[in-house]
Symmetry: C2
Subunit: 388 residues, 2 copies
């Protein structure tokens, strides 16, 4: 029996609006079809969030309203159920494409392009996201096509959020905040790090306000003696009186990921910790005070760096990046020298994390939205060093 | 202050043994250096499990005992803390390589190769794991080097596990089993899917026998009406009397990932569900009975397919794949026609999942080890259809 559509996150009109923006770029670049392969882009254009471990492509044809999603046969029911696509726009390929070492899912995509009569047309590929062998395969099997690099085109369109997207991001932000507060509730001396993580992740999945987390973004918990490390998850160790915990977590709704960092101290914080908190908080607030539509991104970054330096700490990494589906939007970088202009409804993770020495660091951050007149802070957890 | 080494998962000798096997392949292929970029391979050769979102490379030189790990400066303390590498073998690159759009971490790796005097030597790259632009960068900046594709070399070495690795996989398997039993305990009519996931994931993180889960592999929970879908995580829906739940989870210890599938029925299972359980179980047991060192992989797969077909169900997908660090070892495929021979201490996920129709499917599986005389089943949860 056919499976029914699931409840859709966004109305069909929202996806068609996004596709129209993509097609405008296709017209500008004179391509008749694009093959979308980046997971976040597929989510953006269809609502699909299922991950596949097999090659697949979403083919957008300039002349058709709906794209066609080509993927392994077993992933077809989920792709139909999750997305707004009609049943005939979800096309499965057989395991022949997996078991024959000379073939893979991109051959099924190329077969579709050839069947659609596009052998001599302009075709956009997300080359930055494709392995060398995949690019060779497309070029080899479409020798008369004009291949155009479409790598960051959809990423750039995604940077401006619609009101519907912002509503989902606020739901995710509430989940993020709940995780931060849960950590403050449960962390205590003698607790194993994994037990803290289990409580935090449980909260991130259960969600907030009746809206569940729909994915688990791996949390980072760097506790003493690892407070100078970045991008590690957690260890088998036990938290102790005097431990510092640098926590970075994110709530996720339907792909939209809203991160936050907060630092916790079990017992009285050291003077050094209090001083870096003051410096990083000053940087964060200096940045927030400058955010508004029309501001230069590099100026915001510069204000953040200067404010932390005035209080004696040099932050070495950029103070933020664009956020949306799957955490980072790589085309938006909050960094000095970036002359791009902030636009309404861009969203950022303004990240005041500093890894000062091998054995010392501190993190605080907010996820924010740019408004016409200033800033909306999506995350609302207390902006403090949590002393437990 | 420098950070201290963390407790090491494996003794130094174990990493040197793995490196020796890699260097033997380097000698066979006449390369002086390889650049390891696949996350699982870096874990295998050093013990590092931290994920970085910036390009990095582990350079193995034929002439040096230890490899050199080149990565973003903020990831250096974790790389030193987690691994057996000496401090001078962990080399950070500055954010200059991130902020300048013409550069990235691979430029730092190439600078290292050039400084090491390798401009005219044979260099192995994991090309299957590199984007087209990365391969171009290596070839462009090392025009006189002989670039050799080293894509699946380390993957193949990884397929035979040492006793030390198997001990860690057994710890992970115990966590997996605990997750399956926790699901049987908590799932009940009226429960939201995310609340079930929170309990299951909490167990996977807290671990078993005092050994915590060290990473969260995203669980798949496909419940009615989505029991014909694959690779979706969970929905906002509520589980009901009569719901079927197809669950695929994995415990993880230090990267080693041991998956399992079990199916649950809230209330009396349908005849169709009982029949497919019998068929898939027969397939699983037929497969297990043939596993032993020296058996042909394709024969095992064929026995599985024939056993399920005798009971009226045709399984369309391959019945398994190699497992180890980061879930799948792509060079081992349990599929018909595969003429490779099973070797002692290969490990597989023997996967009897069937997606029969858009609205019906069933899953049962075991993670196993090949022994000289037969099979060790790593996962030990009851091999049953759980009726709740």
């Amino acid at each position: 029996m056919p499976i029914s559509k699931g409840s859709q996150v966004f109305p069909r009109a929202e996806y068609l609006r996004r596709l129209a923006a993509v097609k405008e770029k296709m017209t500008q670049r004179n391509v008749d079809a694009i093959v979308v392969t980046e997971h976040a882009h597929i989510t953006y254009l269809t609502g699909s969030t299922a991950r596949s471990y097999n090659r697949r492509g979403l083919v957008v044809l300039a002349r058709q309203e709906q794209p066609t999603f080509i993927l392994r046969w077993m992933d077809v029911p989920a792709a139909f159920q999750e997305t707004f696509l009609d049943r005939d726009k979800v096309v499965g390929y057989s395991d022949e494409f997996m078991l024959d070492p000379s073939k893979d899912g991109y051959d099924a995509v190329i077969d579709f392009l050839l069947d659609a009569g596009l052998a001599k047309d302009g075709i956009g590929l997300e080359i930055g996201n494709l392995t060398a062998d995949a690019v060779e395969k497309f070029k080899g099997r479409l020798p008369e096509s004009r291949i155009v690099n479409f790598s960051d085109v959809i990423t750039s369109i995604r940077t401006i959020k619609s009101d519907l997207e912002l509503a989902v991001m606020r739901e995710a932000a509430a989940i993020t905040d709940a995780g931060i507060l849960r950590a403050a509730e449960v962390i205590s001396p003698g607790m194993r790090e994994p037990d803290a993580i289990a409580e935090i992740v449980g909260t991130l999945v259960r969600g907030a306000n009746g809206k569940a987390g729909t994915w688990i973004a791996a949390p980072f918990l760097c506790a003493s003696p690892r407070i100078g490390t970045a991008h590690v998850t957690w260890s088998d160790d036990v938290l102790r009186q005097g431990s510092q915990i640098n926590l970075e977590i994110a709530g996720v709704r339907h792909g939209y990921t809203v991160p936050i960092c907060r630092t916790y101290s079990i017992g009285k914080p050291s003077d050094r910790l209090l001083r870096i908190h003051d410096a990083q908080l000053a940087g964060l607030e200096a940045g927030l005070s400058l955010v508004r539509a029309g501001a230069i991104i590099g100026d915001v970054a510069q204000a953040i760096h200067r404010a932390t330096e005035r209080l004696g700490f040099k932050k070495r990494s950029r103070p933020g990046y664009g956020i949306g589906i799957d955490w980072t939007e790589r085309t938006l970088s909050l960094q000095e020298g970036n002359l791009s202009v902030l636009k309404p409804n861009m969203t950022f993770h303004m990240h005041l994390g500093s890894w000062v020495e091998d054995d010392f660091g501190y993190v605080i951050s907010e996820s924010i939205r740019v408004t016409e007149s200033g800033v909306e802070t999506l995350t609302k957890a207390p902006r403090q060093l949590f002393v437990l």
